[in-house]
Symmetry: C2
Subunit: 131 residues, 2 copies
DNA sequence: CTAATTACAGTAATCGTTATCGTTATTATT
DNA sequence: AATAATAACGATAACGATTACTGTAATTAG
C-alpha cells in the first residue's frame, strides 16, 4: 500500500543529490532547495531524503562527527574523510577491488555479505598544501 | 596541560570496553557500569568514552542508524552490520589485506591516507537461520 | 469534476550528545 | 600526614540533528 505520489520538492532534492559532488547534510540540501521552494520545510527534506534512501535512489553516509551525509551516487564506492578540515570526498576503487574485498571478508565470516563501504581517513591535498 | 587524573569510573568503563565483544552504545556502557557505580552519570560515561577515544584507547564507530558504538579493540579491523537485526559484529581481514586496500586507494587519490575502516552489510548467521 | 489519498509546511517532541556548575576525589606540596 | 591545587564527578540544563504530529495543499483515481 501507500503508493508513491509525485512531488516537485522530492524531484528537486533528488536532482540536487544527483548533480552535486558534495555530500551534503540534510541541512545543506535544505538550504539549496530553498532557492526553488522558498517555504519548503526541513521536515520535508528529511522525509524525502529517507524515502530516497529507502527506495535505493540515494545513500546515507555516517561519519564519526556531525550529521549524516547524503549521496546521489548509488553505485558502490567509498569515501575519504579529511581529519583536518572535515570534508568528505569520493574515493573510487575499481569495482573489481571492491568485490575482491567483499570476497575476502566472506571467506572467514559466517553470514551473507551484500555490500560494503570503506571510509578512509587522512589529510586531503588542500590541507597538506597549507601545512 | 590538563594532566590526566585517575578515576575508578574511567577504569571501569575501559575495562568493560576491553572485555566485551559487543560494540556497546554509550547508553549500554552506562547500564553496565551502573552495576558497580550505581550513581554514575551518563555524562561521565560520554566524557570518558570520548576521552578514551581521543587518547587512542578506544574507537568510535558510526552506523547509519542509532547512536555511535564504542570498541576497546584498537588494532585496525572492520565491522559487519546486520541489516535485519541491527547487530554490529567484528569482521577481521588479515592485516595484509587492510594495508593492501589502503595502498590501492592511495594510488588514485590525491591526499594522505592514514587509516580506513570498512563496514560490511548483510545478514548475520542468526537471521539467516530464522528465515 | 469530485473523491480519495499522499505530501506538504509548520511546529512540537524526541533522541543522542555536550556543556555548565557546585561538589568530591585524586595528586602534588608542604 | 595535612593542606592546597586541580581534575573528575553527578546532576541537570542546553544543544543539534532528526522524527512525529496536525491541519492544509497537491496529486492521482474514479
Amino acid at each position: 500500500m501507500a503508493a508513491l505520489k509525485y512531488s516537485r520538492q522530492r524531484e528537486s532534492i533528488k536532482h540536487y543529490l544527483m548533480t552535486t559532488r558534495e555530500h551534503p547534510t540534510a541541512d545543506a540540501v535544505y538550504m539549496h532547495v530553498k532557492k526553488d521552494f522558498p517555504n519548503i520545510s526541513l521536515g520535508t527534506v528529511y522525509r524525502n531524503l529517507n524515502l530516497l534512501t529507502d527506495i535505493g535512489e540515494a545513500i546515507k553516509i555516517s561519519t564519526p562527527n556531525g550529521g549524516d551525509r547524503f549521496d546521489g551516487r548509488i553505485e558502490p564506492h567509498n569515501h575519504f574523510l579529511c581529519t583536518k578540515c572535515g570534508r568528505l570526498l569520493d574515493l573510487d576503487l575499481d569495482m573489481h577491488s571492491i568485490e575482491e574485498v567483499n570476497r575476502l571478508a566472506a571467506e572467514n565470516f559466517d553470514g551473507r555479505i551484500t555490500s560494503s563501504s570503506t571510509l578512509f581517513y587522512g589529510e586531503c591535498s588542500d590541507c597538506i598544501k597549507k601545512s
